[in-house]
C-alpha cells in the first residue's frame, strides 16, 4: 500500500486543530474560525469519499492496510485497515462533523476556537476507532473520544451540564476499563493484538464467557442497552445541539460497531450463550423506553429515549447471528445515525429561536415555519420506519430475521415499531399542528444554511430507503465473514 490514506484521515483533523490552536485567538473572528473548521472537515469528507471508490468489494479482509511497530517490546502495533463494515461509518462521521460545525455557527458564541478544536479532535479519534485493527489502538481511540466529548458537554451544555458530563464520562470509563483488562488478558494469551489472529483463537469456554461480559460492559454502556442507558438522556438534554448530533449520530454506533467487529468473531460460544439475555434486555429497551418516550415533556429527552429504543433493534439484529439480522442492524445503525442526528438538529432549530425545549410551549409551528415542518415530517416518518425511507429497511430486516429465532421476539420488536410511531406522531402533532401560540408568531423559518444541511440529510435518508443496495453491496461480504 503506497498511499497512507487512513493515517491521513486520522491526522488531518489533528493537524488542523494544532494549527488553529497556535493561531492567536484575539485576531480571529468566530466566523473565520468556523469557516476554517468547515474547510478542514469538508476536505476530510472528500478525502474519505476516496475509500468507497477505491475499495475492492470482491476481496476478503482488510484493505488500505498500514502497519508500523509502536512498542516493539510489548507487541503493540499501529495497525490500521478498513473493510466494508467500517467504511460507511467513517463516511457517516466525516459527513456529520461539518454539519455539526455548520449548525453551531450562530449558537456557539463564546470560546468558538476551542469548540472547533475539540470537534476536530473528536472526529479524528472516532475515525481512529473505525480504522484500527489492533486491539490496543482500538482501545486508545475508544477512550480518547471521551475527552473532547466531556469538554464539549461541560463547556457549552445546559444548566445541569456538570452532572450530565460527569455521568457520561464515568459511566463509559467504568465500562471500558473492564474491557481493558479483557484486552490485556487476550493479548497475553494470543501474544498479539491483531484482530484477525484473535478471531482464529479459541478460548477456554468459561473464560470466554467472562471475557465476553467484560467487552459487553463497555459496549452495552456505549450503545446504550437497557439497564445502562441512564446516562444518555442526561447527556443528550444537556449537550449543545452539535454535541447531541455527534453523540446520537456516531458515538452510539461505536458500541454496536464493537459488537460486530470484536464480540462476535472473538467469542462465538459466548455470543450464542448470552443470546437470550441480550434479546431480553433489548426487548425491554424497545418497549420500556418507547413507553417512557411517550410521556416525555422535553423534546430532546423524547428523541434520546427513542434512540435507546432504536438501538435496541440494532442489538437484537446483531445477536440473531444471521446475515439478514446483522445486515438489518447495520442498516439501522446508519439510518439512525442520519435520522436521529437530523431530529436533534430539528430540535436545535426551534430551541435556538425560542429557547425552550418543552413540547407544551410549541403549537401550530407549521403556520409560521412551513419549510421546517416539511423537513421535520421527512425525518419523523423515517424514524417511524415508513417504506421508502431508510428507517424502514433496517427495521424490516431485523424483524424478519427474528422470526427464525423466536416468534415472541418478533412480537415485542413489532410492538416497538408501533410505539415508535405513536410517540413520534404525537411529538409531530403537538409541535406543528393546533392553534398558533402568540409567542411563536415571530419565529423565522429555516435559513439557507439550515435548508442546505437538512436537504443533504433528507436526500441521504430517501436515497438509502429507495436504493438500499448501495449500502448492502458494501457490507455484505465483510459481515458474512464475521458470522460464525
Amino acid at each position: 500500500m503506497s498511499f497512507p490514506i487512513l493515517s491521513l484521515l486520522i491526522l488531518t483533523p489533528i493537524i488542523g486543530a494544532l494549527t488553529l490552536s497556535l493561531s492567536s485567538s484575539t485576531q480571529l473572528k468566530n466566523k473565520t474560525i468556523f469557516l476554517s473548521g468547515l474547510w478542514i472537515t469538508t476536505g476530510e469528507f472528500l478525502l474519505s469519499l476516496l475509500l468507497p471508490i477505491f475499495y475492492d468489494k470482491s476481496k476478503n479482509g482488510y484493505q488500505f492496510i498500514e502497519f508500523h511497530t509502536w512498542f516493539d517490546k510489548f507487541d503493540i502495533n499501529y495497525y490500521v485497515g478498513v473493510d466494508g463494515v467500517s467504511i460507511p461509518l467513517i463516511l457517516l462521521t466525516t459527513f456529520l462533523v461539518p454539519i455539526c460545525l455548520l449548525c453551531s455557527i450562530n449558537s456557539i458564541q463564546n470560546r468558538a476556537k476551542e469548540f472547533v478544536i475539540y470537534f476536530l479532535l473528536l472526529e479524528s479519534f472516532i475515525i481512529g476507532v473505525f480504522v484500527s485493527i489492533d486491539l490496543v489502538i482500538f482501545y486508545v481511540f475508544f477512550e480518547a473520544v471521551l475527552i473532547p466529548m466531556f469538554l464539549i458537554i461541560g463547556i457549552w451544555g445546559g444548566e445541569n451540564r456538570l452532572y450530565a458530563t460527569f455521568k457520561f464520562f464515568l459511566y463509559t470509563l467504568a465500562g471500558s476499563v473492564l474491557m481493558l483488562l479483557a484486552i490485556i488478558y487476550i493479548i497475553s494469551k494470543v501474544k498479539s493484538g491483531n484482530i484477525e489472529l484473535i478471531s482464529d483463537f479459541t478460548f477456554d469456554q468459561q473464560i470466554e464467557l467472562v471475557l465476553f461480559l467484560c467487552f459487553f460492559a463497555s459496549f452495552a454502556v456505549k450503545v446504550p442497552m437497557f439497564p445502562f442507558h441512564t446516562w444518555l438522556p442526561d447527556a443528550h438534554v444537556q449537550a449543545p445541539t452539535s454535541g447531541s448530533v455527534i453523540l446520537a449520530g456516531v458515538l452510539l454506533k461505536l458500541g454496536a460497531y464493537g459488537f460486530i467487529r470484536l464480540s462476535l468473531p472473538f467469542f462465538e460460544y459466548a455470543s450464542i450463550y448470552f443470546q437470550p439475555i441480550i434479546f431480553a434486555l433489548s426487548c425491554v429497551a424497545i418497549v420500556y423506553t418507547s413507553i417512557v418516550a411517550l410521556r416525555q415533556l422535553d423534546m430532546k429527552k423524547m428523541i434520546a429515549y427513542s434512540s435507546v429504543a432504536h438501538m435496541g433493534f440494532v442489538t437484537i439484529g446483531i445477536f440473531t447471528l444471521t446475515q439478514d439480522g446483522i445486515n438489518g442492524a447495520y442498516f439501522q445503525m446508519i439510518s439512525h445515525g442520519i435520522v436521529s442526528a437530523a431530529l436533534f438538529l430539528i430540535v436545535g432549530v426551534v430551541y435556538e429561536r425560542h429557547h425552550t425545549r418543552m413540547i407544551s410551549d410549541y403549537s401550530g409551528v407549521t403556520n409560521v415555519m412551513p419549510k421546517y415542518s416539511f423537513f421535520f415530517m421527512v425525518f419523523m416518518l423515517s424514524s417511524v420506519g415508513l417504506p421508502g425511507t431508510s428507517g424502514f429497511v433496517g427495521e424490516f430486516l431485523v424483524i424478519m430475521s427474528t422470526i427464525s429465532v423466536s416468534v415472541y421476539l418478533t412480537f415485542f420488536t413489532a410492538i416497538g415499531v408501533i410505539l415508535g410511531a405513536s410517540y413520534m406522531l404525537l411529538l409531530y402533532k403537538n409541535i406543528n399542528f393546533g392553534d398558533l401560540k402568540s409567542d411563536i408568531k415571530q419565529l423565522a423559518d429555516l435559513t439557507n444554511i439550515e435548508i442546505f444541511y437538512f436537504s443533504c440529510l433528507a436526500f441521504l435518508t430517501i436515497l438509502l430507503g429507495i436504493y438500499p443496495k448501495l449500502l448492502f453491496e458494501m457490507i455484505n461480504k465483510s459481515i458474512s465473514l464475521s458470522i460464525i
Binding site: 480518547a144 475527552i147 476499563v177 473492564l178 481493558l180 490485556i184
Partner: protein
C-alpha cells in the same frame, strides 16, 4: 582493600556538599548555579561511565543497571528541582542556601540507600534522607502548619526508623548477617524482622495503611518541599523496596507476600476514597500519590513478567507528571499568599492557556486516559500483573482508577467550566513555565513516540 571507584557518585555529591558549605561562607547566591552544574556533570558522568563504576564489584549486571538508571533519574530530577526552587522560596521570604544543602544531603542519602547491599548502610542512607526531609518540611519556621508538619513527620518517621532498626536486629539475630542477599533459610524470626523492615519502607513511600502522615505533611510544608517529598526520596525508597523484594525473593515467602498484596490493595482504595472529598489541592495530590503507590507496588510484585521496564516506565511518567503539576502550582499565587484550595483554580482556562492545557494533560495522564503516556504506564503495569496472575488486584486497580478519574475530572471542571472567583496572580516564573510545558510535551510525545524511553530502559536491563 575497599575499591573506592564504586563510590564515585556518592563522593561526588559529598564534595559538592563541602564546596557548597565553604562557598556559602562567602557568597550565598552561587549555591544554585554551582549545584546545577554539579548535577549536570554528575548526570553526564553516570550516563557515560555509570556501568564502569561498578564493574569491579561482583554484583549482577541487572543490579548495576538498576543502580545506574535510578541514579541518573535522581540526578536529573535534582537538576530540575534546583532550577525550580529559588523563586517560590524567595516569594515566601524563605530563600537560604541551606535549603540546597538539605536537598544535597537527602539526595546523598537516596544514593546510599539505592546502592546498599547491607541493611545497616541502607539504614544510614534512609536516616540521612529522612532527617533532611524533616528539616525541609519545617523550613517555614514562622508558619505554624509548617512546624506542625515537620514535627509530625519527624515523630512518625522516628517511629518507623525504630521499626526498621528492630527488624534489622531481628534479622541479624537470626542469620548473623546484615547482608541483603544472604537470607536463604528463613525462620519465623527473620520473617517478622523482614515484615518490620517492610513496614518501615511502606511508611517511607507512604503506602496505606502507613500513610497517615502524608496528607498533613504535604499540606503543611512549603509547596516546594512537598514537590520534593512527592518525587525523589519516594522514588529512591521505592527502588530500595523493589530491591528488597527482588533480592530476598519475597514472592516465595507466603506471609510477606500476603502483606504486600494487602498493602497494595489498601493503598489503591485508600488513595481514591481519601481524595474524593478533599478541598485542598496538596491533600488531594497526597491521596492520589497513595493510589499511584498502589500501582507501583503492583508493578514491583509482577516484575517477573516484563522485568524492570514496566516499573520504570511508570515511575518516570509519574515523576514527570508530578514535576509538571507542581511547577504550575508553584507558579500560581493568590493575593493573600500561597494558593491552596482546588476552588481557587476556577476559571484558570480564561487566564492562562498554557497552564490550563498542561494541567489537563497531566490530570488525564494521571487518570490513565489515552492519548497520554499515563495510559501506557498503567497499561504495562496491568499487563504485567495479569500475566503474573494478580487478577483480583488488577480489577481493584482499574476500578480505583475510575474513581480516581472522578476527582481528576473535578479539577479539570474547575479550570475549564467554572468562572473564576478570586484573582490568581501569575508568578511569571520562566523556568517554571519551561518545566511544565516540557513535561506536558514529554507526556504527550512519549505516548506517540515512546521509543527513546523504552530503549533507555531496555538497554540498561539487557
Amino acid at each position: 582493600m575497599i575499591n573506592l571507584f564504586q563510590f564515585i557518585p556518592e563522593i561526588f555529591i559529598l564534595s559538592l556538599i563541602l564546596i557548597t558549605l565553604c562557598f556559602g561562607l562567602f557568597n550565598k547566591d552561587r549555591a544554585i548555579s554551582l549545584n546545577t552544574s554539579g548535577f549536570i556533570l554528575l548526570s553526564i558522568l553516570l550516563l557515560n561511565y555509570g556501568k564502569d563504576f561498578y564493574s569491579s564489584t561482583q554484583m549482577s549486571l541487572n543490579t548495576i543497571n538498576l543502580f545506574v538508571l535510578s541514579k541518573i533519574i535522581l540526578s536529573i530530577g535534582s537538576i530540575v528541582f534546583i532550577l525550580l526552587l529559588k523563586r517560590p522560596l524567595k516569594n515566601e521570604n524563605l530563600y537560604r542556601y541551606e535549603y540546597v544543602l538539605f536537598l544535597l544531603f537527602a539526595i546523598l542519602g537516596s544514593f546510599v540507600l539505592i546502592s546498599s547491599n547491607n541493611f545497616l548502610t541502607a539504614f544510614i542512607g534512609l536516616e540521612l534522607q529522612s532527617l533532611s526531609l524533616y528539616l525541609m518540611a519545617a523550613f517555614n519556621t514562622k508558619n505554624l502548619s509548617s512546624n506542625e508538619a515537620g514535627i509530625k513527620y519527624f515523630s512518625l518517621g522516628a517511629l518507623s526508623s525504630g521499626f526498621l532498626l528492630f527488624g534489622i536486629s531481628m534479622i541479624y539475630y537470626d542469620t548473623g548477617s546484615f547482608n541483603i542477599q544472604n537470607l536463604d533459610n528463613f525462620t519465623a524470626i527473620s520473617e517478622i524482622g523482614l515484615s518490620l523492615v517492610l513496614i518501615s519502607l511502606f511508611f517511607k513511600v507512604s503506602a496505606a495503611p502507613f500513610h497517615i502522615w502524608t496528607p498533613d505533611v504535604y499540606e503543611g510544608s512549603p509547596t516546594i518541599s512537598t514537590l520534593f517529598f512527592a518525587t525523589l526520596p519516594k522514588f529512591a525508597s521505592l527502588i530500595f523496596l523493589f530491591r528488597v523484594y527482588q533480592e530476598l525473593n519475597i514472592s516465595d515467602i507466603k506471609s510477606l507476600n500476603y502483606i504486600f498484596q494487602m498493602v497494595c490493595a489498601i493503598s489503591l482504595l485508600v488513595g481514591v476514597y481519601g481524595a474524593i472529598t478533599q478541598k485542598v489541592i496538596k491533600r488531594l495530590l497526597a491521596f492520589s500519590s497513595i493510589n499511584h503507590i498502589g500501582f507501583m507496588l503492583l508493578g514491583i510484585m509482577s516484575y517477573q513478567f516484563m522485568s524492570e521496564g514496566t516499573l520504570f516506565f511508570y515511575l518516570i511518567i509519574y515523576l514527570v507528571t508530578t514535576f509538571g503539576i507542581f511547577a504550575i502550582l508553584l507558579n500560581l499565587r493568590t493575593v493573600d499568599g500561597e494558593f491552596t484550595k482546588i476552588s481557587q483554580l476556577n476559571g484558570l482556562r480564561f487566564t492562562s492557556n498554557s497552564k490550563s492545557i498542561s494541567m489537563l494533560v497531566f490530570f488525564f495522564s494521571l487518570a490513565g486516559i489515552p492519548p497520554f503516556a499515563g495510559f501506557f504506564a498503567k497499561f504495562f503495569i496491568l499487563s504485567a500483573s495479569i500475566n503474573d496472575g494478580f487478577i483480583l488486584l488488577s480489577i481493584i486497580a482499574v476500578l480505583s482508577s475510575v474513581i480516581a478519574a472522578f476527582y481528576y475530572l473535578t479539577i479539570i471542571k474547575n479550570m475549564f467550566f467554572n468562572k473564576s472567583e478570586i484573582e490568581l496572580l501569575d508568578d511569571n516564573n520562566k523556568t517554571g513555565k519551561v518545566i511544565f510545558i516540557s513535561s506536558g510535551l514529554i507526556i504527550t510525545l512519549f505516548f506517540i513516540y515512546p521509543d527513546p524511553l523504552i530503549n533507555l530502559v531496555d538497554n540498561l536491563f539487557k
